[in-house]
Symmetry: C2
Subunit: 126 residues, 2 copies
């Protein structure tokens, strides 16, 4: 792959920007099984306000990852679903999620260790 060039302002930054916020990846993931209504998404996800969910969906829509559709019979019934492009992002997201499951404990352990620091090391963040 030798994606070394993605430093500076290479194209790969684009994907990191897509994942550089709290909710994009989570919402994409919540849509993995098929179309979902906003209220369903909020239930599945938990802890996301209506406003932020809408913002996130607009952002994903803007980037071509998500599609918005109103039920022809009941136009107030809205559904969102992944586009073909959006589905292709599930694999990388899954890779990140799988990593977390495997190494999440180590990260938390490191955080705790950093909070009871060896006094002579350059001070940690905490």
């Amino acid at each position: 792959m030798t994606t070394d060039a993605f430093l500076a302002d290479c194209r790969a930054r684009l994907a990191f920007d897509l994942l550089s916020n709290t909710w994009n990846a989570v919402v994409l993931w919540a849509l993995r099984d098929g179309p979902r209504r906003p209220v369903e998404l909020r239930e599945r996800i938990g802890g996301i306000s209506s406003k932020v969910l809408t913002e996130t969906l607009r952002r994903l829509q803007f980037n071509g990852l998500v599609d918005r559709q109103a039920d022809p019979d009941a136009p107030s019934r809205i559904e969102y679903q992944l586009t073909a492009l959006g589905k292709t992002l599930l694999a990388p997201i899954d890779a990140v999620g799988a990593w977390a499951f495997e190494y999440g404990d180590e990260v938390m352990a490191a955080q705790e260790a950093a909070c009871t620091p060896d006094p002579q090391s350059p001070r940690p963040i905490c």
Copy 2:
């Protein structure tokens, strides 16, 4: 994998938090080939200020992904390198980067399309 549970406040969020800022992934990537001094990192990366780089490295250090070492001979010569844990994150990062190389064009195309909108669709972000 069925990481469906990572919605709500599951552990998988941990990894997304790690990648939920502009520079963490980029700096990790810049360290992939071995130890680097801050000045080297800034050259490789481009567009990152000294202050922000330091903050980022502290953050990564705090999460156990990066290690800071001073040259015993010249203590003002500092080097950072990936920890074993940090190296394991390279694979998921690579997955994201590879995705960007493959689909980045489509994202940019979608962005442009959203900026010259079909007037009757729910307004895009722009």
